[in-house]
């Protein structure tokens, strides 16, 4: 007769117990992870909302010791820097994404470009700031908004490249083949048909890069440098929202702390809106006309 193999009761009990322990630990770690996020958000809302008023958006900083004032110059500065950065980063990034998706599928160059873009995404932003400093600020001998914008633009390129590639790959082949079958030249089909079909996704990818770069402080520390006054000159130092938050947070003045919290709240709202929008577009598959 074959022997009956039976696990001992103790072994069976240990297996069920370890299953329950593992589930408990997983739930515990999830709670431990979600809690700081919720705490940070609630604290930010509480601290920021009380100091967020119209003056914050319309006034420049007051001298130390006076109450009131706002961060209007920082908001404008951030907008200007992002505009310069987008002008540099978005066209190049989308073009590189088009190359990866349309012309390079499976080729050695495309794989290398993709790998390099992913690695470049992980390079610290302060290193980018140093290289733009030595490229633009040192020869010009002064800080400028242009240098800050170039630093931000360089940071946007790898992100936009990868998201554009992913969005273009989602366009079904039938559309491309239909265009080519009608005799549309390849370049025209890529631009007017494939890119246009994927444009909601591409635009939200750009928005994601935008939001990520809007919160970057380190590259601006020694390129745009910050400015106490209202300035729209590209050749002068300019204020930026995250830069201002950094300076104010480390200062000893309560009034400036209050402004820093309000600025942080504005930044977080911008980023939450962008991330939610990106998620909405990519998970709902809003590629109208694709099928």
């Amino acid at each position: 007769m074959t022997r009956q193999y039976k696990t001992s009761t103790a072994k069976r009990m240990w297996r069920t117990a370890s299953n329950h322990i593992a589930t408990g630990l997983a739930i515990l770690s999830t709670i431990l992870v979600i809690t700081p996020l919720i705490v940070i958000f609630i604290y930010l809302l509480y601290k920021g909302a009380s100091s967020l008023n119209l003056a914050f958006f319309t006034q420049t900083p007051r001298p130390v010791g006076e109450t009131g004032g706002g961060m209007a110059n920082a908001i404008l500065g951030s907008g200007l820097l992002l505009a310069v950065g987008s002008a540099l980063g978005v066209p190049i990034g989308i073009a590189a994404g088009i190359f990866l998706a349309e012309f390079g599928r499976g080729g050695k160059l495309a794989n290398l470009v993709r790998f390099t873009a992913d690695v470049l995404n992980g390079v610290p932003s302060i290193v980018m700031g140093i290289s733009v400093y030595s490229l633009i600020v040192l020869p010009q001998k002064h800080f400028s908004a242009l240098a800050g914008g170039v630093a931000l633009g360089i940071m946007m390129i790898p992100t936009i490249t990868r998201t554009t590639e992913e969005m273009l790959l989602m366009v079904p082949h039938a559309i491309r083949e239909a265009a080519l079958g009608l005799g549309v030249p390849n370049w025209r089909s890529v631009l007017s048909i494939t890119l246009r079909t994927a444009s909601p996704g591409v635009i939200t990818g750009c928005m994601l890069a935008f939001a990520r770069v809007a919160g970057e402080t380190a590259p601006l520390l020694f390129t745009a440098f910050g400015n106490q006054f209202w300035s729209v000159n590209l050749n002068q130092p300019i204020a930026a929202l995250p830069l201002q938050i950094y300076v104010y947070a480390l200062s000893p003045y309560d009034e400036w702390h209050r402004l820093a919290w309000a600025g942080a709240l504005v930044l977080i709202i911008l980023i939450v809106v962008s991330v939610s929008l990106v998620r909405y577009v990519t998970t709902r598959g809003v590629l109208k006309g694709a099928s």
Binding site: L37, V123, I126, G215, A264, L267
Partner: protein
Amino acid sequence: MNLKIQDIRVPGPFETPSPVSDPPSGPRPGEEPSTIRKFLLSRGSSAFADRGFRWLMVLCACTIFGIVALIATELILRSQLTISKFGIKYFFGSAWDPVNGNFGALPFIYGTLVSSLIGLVIAVPLAVGVAVFITEMCPHKLRGPLSFFTELLAAIPSVVYGLWAVFVLVPLLREHVNPILMKLLGWTGFFTEPNFGIGMFAAGVILSIMILPVISSLTREVMTAVPHSQREAVLALGATRWEMIRMGVLRNARIGIVGSIILGLGRALGETMAVTMVIGNRPEIVKSLLAPGYSMASVIANEFSEASDDMYLSALIEIGLALFIVTIIVNALAQLLVWAVTRGAPARVN
């Protein structure tokens, strides 16, 4: 040729098509080409425009290489002064004396490594736990919101984390957490007075919060890449759910999980703003984790715009060069590991 697309006549749905006995092979000598062929020939070739367009796209893709080359050349160029004066001993000296021109990067390397290590030790178990929960144990309806929340953690800017850390985390650590650590673990020598709150440990904690979503989302991606057949095979052999996760999923995905941990390490090494605000800015190597320290990115952020002479600036840029090389190596290694498991699918972080 003024052929328009409306002039081309294609057989309608109920007409019999012309016999297909002759394959279309172009006009025989003496015959006119077909209408469609005449139309296409009249349009002209787009080969030139196609080639130009493709060339333009390749150029833009190569700007990515150009960016890496640009960063590398600028860093190496501007740090020549310290490279020629100190050589490799720069990374082993612990004196940071800008006044006398004596520079040594060891305290910063120590600070970066220790704060990143603390961050990893705290973040990795939590991140893997969250990933396991979301992928395997979570009810389907919760999956979307939970992954959205963890991605939101990744999107918060570093300076906002720093702001919160300075005003909320540091007092919390100073008043409540550090005294307990000093009482329980003070005998090891790692948690001793003085207790300012601001220090290496605070930097490690805020780093762990920041790299958690990175490790978690990559681990989730790697775990979903494991084919279902593996899970089903283990379950068919009579395993409990945890045993299925351990043997069927984690064992297959462990290379990718190691890759995601290394990617989190890479992010922690380069983190600047939040660490600068809570690390204490003291360039000394001290055994206690509660003491202030200094990291490579922090010294650059703090002292770059105040560097008074060329040697000082060159010393800081050389630290930046070291940071660049280390993060490139770490990130490349991590991407390779994750790629090995997901087979070329993009290793996205956000």
